[in-house]
Assembly symmetry: C2
Homo-oligomer: 361 residues x 2
């Protein structure tokens, strides 16, 4: 595979300034302003949003989902038929695999996320496992391939956005084919009329605008699987696939901001520091808050679900002067957020700790 | 005023590369991807969003709106009291005054919008004129000042976001104190629990997270009125205030995109070019589409309201090769979008025509 796959990004990582192409992407794609961490469920319109190509304009009246490949009974289901199947609702914290990319040095050229490509929503729809069971998966099945309606070109490869899941992941009871988000119809930009939601995995797995589901007996080698979304050392490294969300915590920047620099100012005295922490590898077990390099354990609330963030709080008495605040989480596998960047060629899974400078005055 | 006001932006306009501060702003603020021009009413979450400071977290149970100043009967109204007053619904196309700023050369340093800071929503709430009449405006009244809960620092000036309207504009029957957006409760980021909506004016007039309305007998000189949101030649020019939306049209880029460059590719043959056009100065009367420099009149649909965009279409038969598409609108005052940039120091009201390069292959 090395050397024959197209590079997933446009050019080598750079130490140079931001490009017009990156600005266009930053303008199109939406992050969640960090003050929205105060909400258990991210208000509609503030959940992060990454669109590889264009948001398709789908006619739900004629749309059908095809389920085929290595199954005994291929299915074609429209929106009404999907609604006659059992429905589940799952709260999920979802994060883009590229979150934190623009903070890497050198900087991989792609969507230049800072820290806010995250959000939590309640997704409702049909359990994927229910429909796969209805279709009857062949014993030789290995993976399930999900293909969206959205089409475009990436690194010279024309494609519809497509990703696969190992069969065991696809059969998890909490993997949803969602047609509702937070109790309302799925918005166009989040995959209307139907999207996949894979709790615990980075967002690239949760294919939007679903067109087909195909059970396959060999590993899927589509662009977004074999070339995009890999942890690589360099362009010639085949790398390893990006899968579950690495442990991360974020803080609501305290005080008030400067409009342009976003520098934070707050008065001396007591302030409650607040944030959220999550991991797709296991529950978050600890959050520590760093105040000028001294780490203190924060209080952790219970999460709303197995794959949602936990709220954390830490009271702090702010002294006049300049301070650096930070937070780092540890999950049940023992994984801890790194203090320094863990660089890779595509800028994936950068869960280095957030640092917030504040002026107390 | 010249020379004594703080500069509204952080440093002089630049021909240099994008800065980290601009990227932070681009990440926080949301634009409307241009394919959403296909919708009459912008789907929730795709309407543009500019937040000067932080999105406040408001407790609607204790929140009250104060109406005072030069009035006979000052009012304090909570959310329930507002809902006992008459309700109107107004569809409005709203655009940020800074839309197009990052395309200016030299580039003013502020939120680096490309072209997509626009959206159309139906806003429902109490007519402002109803409440001003209830309060009884003094004969000496000149302007009405609207102050939000959101607080921060801009150009060294600590402030709550505040703007004024001339009394005659405030008394227009279509100016709304909105508590609903598109039939749903106002989302936090759009001003919950109450915002002003001034149809036809750039978005800075539509103050979010309202805390107070004060009738004044002298011109308001707050930062966002006397220093921000002005058409200035340079830092020493007092300039003129930014008010109504200048005529503009935008096109849905046809074909499919390249992920990184956003370059458009489409097959040869017939394609329907589509877009929207609007003006806050008067109705849009004409849209012309430029194909490789040749201008052709597009078909215009009727608008949904006096202050909403009009859909336009033009069939085109695409020949193989590279093409440049453009669109320009004319409004009922005779104003036409300029072909070249109309530069000003703060990067306001840049309504120069959009140009879309397409590869037909």
């Amino acid at each position: 595979m090395p050397g024959v796959m197209p590079t997933p990004h446009s050019g080598e990582p750079t130490t140079g300034p931001l490009t017009a192409e990156e600005l266009q992407l930053a303008a199109r794609n939406h992050s969640m302003p960090l003050e929205a961490l105060l909400h258990d469920i991210t208000p509609p319109g503030l959940h992060y949003l990454l669109t590889h190509f264009d948001i398709p304009h789908v006619d739900a009246d004629t749309w059908v989902l095809k389920i085929g490949g290595a199954v005994q009974r291929p299915l074609e289901l429209g929106g009404m038929a999907l609604r006659t199947r059992p429905r589940i609702s799952v709260p999920v914290t979802m994060e883009c695999a590229g979150n934190g990319r623009s903070l890497l040095l050198p900087r991989p050229l792609s969507q230049p996320w800072t820290l806010e490509a995250v959000g939590t929503a309640e997704w409702s729809g049909v359990p994927l496992a229910y429909l796969l069971t209805e279709a009857g998966v062949d014993p030789a099945a290995l993976e399930v391939v999900f293909t969206g309606i959205d089409e475009g070109i990436q690194s010279g490869v024309r494609q519809r956005y497509a990703r696969s899941l190992p069969l065991a992941e696809a059969m998890r009871p909490d993997v949803v084919l969602a047609y509702r988000m937070n109790g309302n119809p799925l918005p166009p930009q989040h995959g209307y009329p139907l999207r996949l939601v894979v709790p615990g995995w980075y967002g690239m797995a949760s294919v939007k605008w679903l067109q087909s589901i195909e059970v396959v007996t060999r590993p899927f080698d589509g662009f977004q699987q074999s070339s995009g979304y890999r942890y690589q050392k360099d362009a010639d490294d085949a790398g390893t696939p990006v899968t579950r969300i690495r442990v991360r915590s974020l803080m609501v920047p305290p005080g008030i901001p400067d409009f342009f620099t976003r520098r934070r100012i707050l008065p001396p005295g007591p302030v409650m520091l607040r944030g959220r922490a999550w991991s797709g590898e296991g529950g978050v077990e600890q959050v520590e808050v760093g105040i000028d390099g001294e780490w203190v354990a924060a209080h952790l609330d219970q999460p709303a679900g197995a794959h949602t963030w936990r709220a954390w709080t830490l009271p702090w008495v702010a002294d006049p002067g300049e301070h650096e605040l930070a937070c780092r989480a540890t999950d049940s596998t023992g994984a801890v957020q790194p203090l320094e960047q863990n660089w890779n060629y595509q800028g994936m899974g950068n869960n280095a700790v957030q640092r917030v400078r504040v002026s107390v005055e």
